[in-house]
Amino acid sequence: MNPQGWAEIVLTIAVTVGLAWPLGLYMARVWKGERTWLDPVLKPVERLIYAGCGVKPDAFAAKGGQGWLAYAMSFLAFSIASFVILYLTLRFQNLLPLNPQGFAGLSPDLAFNTSVSFITNTNWQAYVPETTLSTFSQMAGLTSHNFLSAAAGIALAAAVARAFAANRSENLGDFWVDLTRISLYILLPFSIVIALAYVALGEPQTLIANVTAHTLEGAKQTIALFPTASQEAIKQFGTNGGGIFNANSAHPFENPNAITNLIEIISMNVLSYACVVAFGRIVLAAKEARALVAVMAIFVLGASAAIYATETQRAPALAAAHADASVNMEGKEVRFGAPSTAVWAANTTGASDGGVNGMHDSFMPLGGGVAMFMIQLGEMLPGGVGSGLYGMVVMALIAVFVAGLMVGRTPEYLGKKVEAREIKYAMLAVLILPLAILGFSGVAAVLPVALKGLANPGAHGLSEILYAYSSATGNNGSAFAGLSANTPWWNTTLGIAMLLGRFAYAVPVLAIAGSLAAKPKLGATTGTFPTDGPLFIGLLIGVILIMGGLQFFPALALGPIVEHFQALHAVAAR
C-alpha cells in the first residue's frame, strides 16, 4: 500500500461522483420529456420511432401515463419479447448472416442462459465469446441488449422517481417512451463519444474477424478482433460487463492502457450515480439524493480500501517460502497493478457491472470475499443503471421504517408515508437475494452434477459456487473464474437466479412505486425523520449491513473467511 495507490482510489471515485452530477441533471430533463440540446438531431428520430411503434407521442405528459401494473406489464412484455428473439438468434446463429468464422448455433441451455443474461443486464458469460459467437450474434443480439436492458432498468428508476414526486396520482409515466428516450438521448450519444475515444486510444473497431500473426517462434496465431470499442463503451456505461473477449477488460484490446482503464472504471459507475441525482431532481430532494450517493460512495470506497489492503499483502504461503512477492499479483494485469484492480473490483461488484480487469478468483480470500459481499448486499452500491437507485430506495424505505418510528410518527420518506403495503413489497424484494443466492448455493454444494464444474476443492470451491449465484442473482455477471459453468445445471439454475434477481425484485419495486404515487405528498416538518444528514447516512449503512448483509455471514464464514484463516494456519503450522 502506498499514497499513490490510495490517491488513485480516492480520485477515481471522486471524479466518478463529480461527473454524475451534470449527467444526472441532464438525465432528469430526459425523464421529464423536456427539451435537451440534442433535440434538433434526435427529436425527429424519436418521432419516427413512436410513429413506427404506434406509441402516442404525448403519452409521457402529465396525463395518460401508465399505472404501476401497466408499466410493469410493459416492462415484462418487452423483456419476454427480447428473450425470445435473442434466444432464437443465438440458437440459430449458423443460419444468420455475418458469421465469418462459421460458428454453430448455441446449445439450448447455453442459449437460454445467455439470452436471460443479456436481457437482465447481467452479462454472465458461460462461454468463450471469441470462439462461440458470430459477429451478428455479438452486434445485433448482445450489443443491442446492452442498450435496451440498461434503458429498461433506467426506465424503472424514472418510474420510481415519478412515484415519489406524485401527489395522489396513478401515473408512473410510459415505459415505451422512457425506453426510447433513455436509449436515444442518454445511452446512444454518450456511448458513441466514449467508443470514439476508445478507438483513438487503440481499441480495435472492425468487422474483420481475425488476423493471423506469425510469432517469433514461428508459430501461427489467430487473433480475434471484432468491433471492440463500440461494445466496450456500452458494456461499461450500461453496467453490462459482458466482454467481447473472454478475458474481459484484462484483455489488451478491451482495455489497452491506463487511460482506457480510468475511463472504463468511471463509465461503469457514473450513470448509476447519475440516476440518483436525477431522482433527487425529479423528487425535489437534492439533499436526500446526496445522502444516498454518499452511502454508495462510502461503500465503494470501503470495499476498494479493503481489497487494496488484502491484495497488497503477501500471500502467506509465498511469504513462508521466502518467495519474492511483495504484492499478490496473481490474476492482476501488470499494466494496472493492485490499486487500480482494487478500485475496479469494488466498482464492478458494487455496480452490478461485472466487467473485470483482473481475476477475482485469484484475489486473496478476503479480497475475493469483499467483492462477493458487495454483490450480496444487493447491487445498489451504486448498483446497476436504474436498478441501483431502486435497490437503494428499497433499503432506505426499510431503514426509515425500522428506525423512523423512533421519532414518534408513522415513518415518511420523501413526503410519502411508509406503511404495511410498502414494507410487504420491500421485504418481498429483499427476500429474493438470500433465497436465490443461498438457496441455489446450498443445493449446488451437495449436488454431484454441480460440483463437477468446480476447479478447486475446499473453501475456495464453495466461494466459487457462492460467487456464481451471487453474481447471477445480483445481475452482476462477473465470475470467480474456476467454475466451468457451461453445463446444463449451471446454465439453467444461474439463468433462473438471474431472472429472479431482475424481475422478482423489479415488480415489487414497481408495486411500491404504484402505492407511493397514490399517496398524498406530505410536506416536511420539524417532526419529520431527517433523511439527508450524516445520521441517516450512518443509519442506512447500518441497515444495509445488518439487514442486507448479515444473513450471508454464515455462508461467507465457510467460504472466504475460513479460507483466510486456513491459509494463516497452514503457514503457522509449517
Binding site: V407, G408, G442, T526
Partner: protein, 690 residues
C-alpha cells in the same frame, strides 16, 4: 382555577392501577394458556419459536431414550420454551391492568330493576330488568336509583354521581335539553328525578363499550403494527433461508451440524425481542391513555394520535381559563391612581361574577382590601343600565360607585362618545385592540378610569405549543371571538393559526381542508354540534360530560372532560410509536453479537481455523450457544418494563430524538449482547451447566 387537577381520586372503576402480585400471578397463568399454537398464529416470530421449541423437545426425548448426551439439548429446549413463555407473559401483563379495570367496571353493571313508564299519560310504571329495556323506551329515575342504560333526559333535572364511569365523586347536574342531557348507564341519581329515553340496547351501552375497550376484547392490529409484523415475518423467512441452506453448505465443507444448534441459531437470529413485546407495547399504549382517564375505542386511534399533524384547540378552557380577568387599571386624566383603585374596588364589592372577583384579587395584590360601608346597597348588573356597582347609602343617597360598559358609564357622566378625555379613549382603544374588554369606572357620575379585562392565557401553554411545534405539530385555535380578539390571544398563546368566529361548519371545513393536504387532525369537543367534526377528525376526543352524539362520534372519550388532554393524548401516541421503533432497532441490532457467538461455535470443531471469529472468547462451543439462547430469552423479560412504561418522550425535535434513540437502542443494541452473552457464558461455564 385549574381544570387539569379536577380528577385525583379514582373511584370504583379504578382504571389504570399499578401491578399487584395477584395480577402478575394471573399473567403468569395466562402465559401458559397462550402456548396454544392457534393463539400464536398472529405472531409469526413467536410461532416459529414455539415450533422450534417443540422440535427441540422431541429431539431431547429421543436423546434420553437413546441414552445419548441429553443435558445440553434439554437446556436448549427449556430456554426456547422460556422464550415463548416470556413473550406470552409480556402480553398477559400488559392485558392484566385492562382486565382488572374491566372487572371492576362489570361490578357496576345494573342489576336492579328499572322503572319503565308504559303509559306516558298516566305515568304507569312497570319494574323491568335493565337488560330488557329497548331503545326509545322511557324510564323514571329517582334519587338513589341507578340509571339503567344510556339515555337522553326528556324531562327533569337531577344531580348525578358519575363516579362509576369517571372516578370523580362530585355529582354533576344533568337536565333535559342542551348538551348536558345525556346520562350514562351505571351512574347514580343523587337528588331529584329525571325521565330518560333509552338510546342504546343492553350490551351496547357506554359501560359495555368501556369494558370491551379496557379489556381489549376486540383488539385489532394497528396499521403500524401490521407493517412491523410484515417486516418481522420477512426477517424470519430470511433467517430461515440462511439457516436451512447451511445444511447444504455445511455438508459441502464437511461440517456436521447439530439440528438442535441450527434451531438455536435460527431463534437467536429472528427478532424474538420485538416479536415478543410487540403486542404488549400496543396494549400498554392504550393502558397509558387509561391512566390519564382517556378511553380509546381502538389502538388505531392511539397510533393516529402519534401521527397527528394539526391540533384544533378550543380557546376557552384549553388555551385560556375561560373567564376574563382584570389585569390593569388605567386612571382617567386628573384622577390619582390610588383613588381609581379604591373606586374600582368599591364598585366591585358586590359583584360575584368571576370578573368581579378578579378585580378584588387585583386590589389584594396591590395591597388594598376594602369592606363595604355600613348600610351600602349593591346595585346589580342589568341589561338596561349595562353597569353594576355600590351605593354607600340606601335609595341613591351617599356616594355612588359604578363600573360597566364604556358608553353607558360615559353617558352617566354626561359625556358624549367624542367628548371623553383623549388619554382615556386611547386606553380604551388599546384594550379593545389587544383583544381585551374595557370596563369604565365612575364615582358619583365622574369618570375615574378604565379596567382592562383580559382573557388570560393559561401559564405554560406557550411552552407546550413550542414543544408541539418542535415535534412538527401545527396548533390551530378555534374561537367564537372576533378576529381582532382571536389574533391577540393567538399571538399571546403562541398558536400557529386561529379560526375566529368559528361555527361548527367552519370547524368541519377546516378539518377536511387539512386532511386534503394529507395531514392528520386531532380535536376535542363536547357539544352535539361538534359531532360531525369529531367524526371527521382522525383523533376526536369527546368529553364524557358532553352530549351523547359527541361521545358516539369521537374515537376517544376523556372521562375528566378536560380539553387540554388532547395534548397528552398526542404524547402518549408518540411514545407508543417510539417504543415500538426502539425495541425493533434494539432487536435487530442484537443479531451482530449473536452471529459472533454462534457461528464460530457451530463450525469450530470441523474447521478449527474459524475459532478466530470467537472474539468474545466464550468458553466452549456449547456454552456459547447456550449463552446466546439464554440471553435471547432473558432480554425479553428485561425489556417488559420498558415496553409497558414506554420510552420517554422528549419534545426535542425529530433529528435530536432520532440521534438520541439511535445511540441508545441502535448502538446499545449492538453492544449490549456482547456484554450480556459474555457474562452469561462466564456463569454457565463456571457453574458447569455444559
Amino acid at each position: 382555577m385549574t381544570m387539569t387537577s379536577s380528577v385525583t381520586a379514582r373511584g370504583a372503576a379504578g382504571l389504570g392501577g399499578s401491578f399487584s402480585p395477584a395480577m402478575l400471578g394471573r399473567a403468569a397463568r395466562d402465559a401458559f394458556v397462550k402456548l396454544d399454537p392457534r393463539k400464536l398464529l398472529g405472531n409469526p416470530v413467536i410461532f416459529a419459536t414455539e415450533i422450534v421449541a417443540i422440535l427441540a423437545s422431541i429431539s431431547t426425548v429421543l436423546a434420553i431414550k437413546d441414552h445419548g448426551a441429553w443435558g445440553f439439548a434439554l437446556q436448549i429446549a427449556l430456554w426456547l420454551w422460556a422464550t415463548v413463555l416470556f413473550a406470552n407473559f409480556a402480553e398477559s401483563v400488559a392485558e392484566g391492568r385492562g382486565k382488572a379495570a374491566a372487572d371492576s367496571l362489570r361490578a357496576t353493571r345494573v342489576t336492579t330493576k328499572a322503572k319503565l313508564i308504559v303509559d306516558p299519560k298516566t305515568g304507569t310504571i312497570v319494574p323491568t330488568p335493565a337488560h330488557q329495556l329497548g331503545v326509545g323506551q322511557i324510564v323514571l329515575v329517582e334519587a338513589g336509583d341507578v340509571v339503567p342504560a344510556d339515555g337522553e333526559i326528556i324531562e327533569g333535572v337531577a344531580s348525578v354521581n358519575e363516579a362509576a364511569i369517571t372516578g370523580e365523586s362530585a355529582p354533576v347536574i344533568r337536565e333535559s335539553g342542551g348538551d348536558r342531557s345525556a346520562v350514562t348507564g351505571g351512574t347514580t341519581v343523587v337528588s331529584d328525578w329525571i325521565k330518560v329515553r333509552i338510546t342504546s340496547e343492553a350490551g351496547a351501552t357506554f359501560l359495555d363499550r368501556m369494558i370491551a375497550m379496557v379489556e381489549g376484547a376486540d383488539r385489532r392490529k394497528t396499521p403500524n403494527e401490521i407493517a412491523l409484523a410484515v417486516l418481522l415475518a420477512g426477517l424470519t423467512l430470511i433467517f430461515l433461508i440462511a439457516v436451512v441452506t447451511l445444511l447444504g453448505l455445511g455438508a459441502y465443507s464437511g461440517v456436521t451440524l447439530d439440528p438442535m444448534v441450527l434451531g438455536a441459531l435460527f431463534i437467536c437470529l429472528i427478532p424474538t425481542t420485538i416479536g415478543g413485546l410487540l403486542s404488549a407495547v400496543g396494549i400498554a399504549g392504550m393502558d397509558r391513555l387509561l391512566k390519564v382517564n382517556v378511553l380509546a375505542t381502538s389502538g388505531r386511534a392511539v397510533e393516529a394520535a402519534g401521527d397527528v399533524d394539526t391540533l384544533l384547540l378550543d380557546k376557552t378552557g384549553t388555551i385560556t381559563f375561560g373567564n376574563r380577568m382584570a389585569t390593569e387599571l388605567i386612571a382617567a386624566p386628573g384622577v390619582r391612581p390610588d383613588m381609581m383603585l379604591r373606586a374600582t374596588l368599591l364598585a366591585s364589592l358586590g359583584d360575584q361574577t368571576p370578573e368581579g372577583r378578579s378585580i378584588l384579587e387585583l386590589g389584594r395584590n396591590q395591597g388594598l382590601v376594602l369592606e363595604a360601608p355600613e348600610g351600602a346597597t349593591v346595585i346589580p348588573f342589568s341589561a338596561m343600565t349595562r353597569q353594576s356597582g355600590l351605593d354607600a347609602g340606601p335609595d341613591g343617597n351617599g356616594d355612588r360607585w359604578r363600573k360597566g360598559a364604556v358608553d353607558a358609564v360615559l353617558k352617566d357622566a354626561g359625556l358624549a362618545p367624542g367628548e371623553a378625555p383623549a388619554e382615556f379613549s386611547a386606553a380604551v382603544d388599546r384594550i379593545a385592540r389587544s383583544g381585551g374588554t374595557p370596563l369604565a369606572v365612575s364615582e358619583n357620575g365622574v369618570l375615574f378610569g378604565v379596567i382592562h379585562l383580559k382573557d388570560v392565557v393559561k401559564p405554560n401553554v406557550k411552552a407546550r405549543f413550542a414543544d408541539l411545534r418542535r415535534m412538527g405539530l401545527r396548533t390551530v385555535m378555534i374561537t367564537g371571538d372576533n378576529p381582532v380578539t382571536a389574533a391577540a390571544i393567538a399571538s399571546e398563546a403562541g398558536v400557529d393559526d386561529f379560526l375566529a368566529e368559528a361555527t361548527p361548519e367552519d370547524k368541519l371545513r377546516l378539518i377536511r381542508e387539512e386532511q386534503g393536504k394529507g395531514r392528520l387532525v386531532a380535536m376535542c369537543g363536547d357539544g352535539a354540534n361538534d359531532a360531525p367534526a369529531l367524526a371527521q377528525s382522525d383523533v376526536g376526543v369527546a368529553m364524557q360530560t358532553g352530549a351523547q352524539a359527541a361521545r358516539e362520534a369521537g374515537n376517544m372519550v376523556d372521562l375528566d372532560s378536560d380539553p387540554t388532554k388532547v395534548i397528552e393524548i398526542v404524547e402518549v401516541g408518540k411514545q407508543m410509536l417510539i417504543t415500538r421503533g426502539a425495541l425493533t432497532t434494539f432487536s435487530i441490532a442484537n443479531d451482530v453479537a449473536k452471529y459472533f457467538a454462534i457461528i464460530p461455535a457451530l463450525f469450530v470443531v470441523a474447521m478449527p481455523a474459524l475459532g478466530a471469529l470467537n472474539v468474545m472468547h466464550l468458553a466452549s462451543p456449547k456454552s456459547a450457544i447456550l449463552s446466546a439462547v439464554i440471553f435471547n430469552a432473558l432480554v425479553i423479560i428485561a425489556l417488559i418494563p420498558l415496553a409497558l412504561r414506554g420510552v420517554k418522550y422528549r419534545a426535542i425535535g425529530a433529528a435530536k430524538l432520532l440521534q438520541r434513540n439511535l445511540l441508545v437502542y441502535g448502538l446499545g443494541g449492538i453492544v449490549a449482547p456482547f456484554v450480556g452473552i459474555k457474562l452469561i457464558d462466564l456463569i454457565v461455564s463456571n457453574i458447569g451447566l455444559v
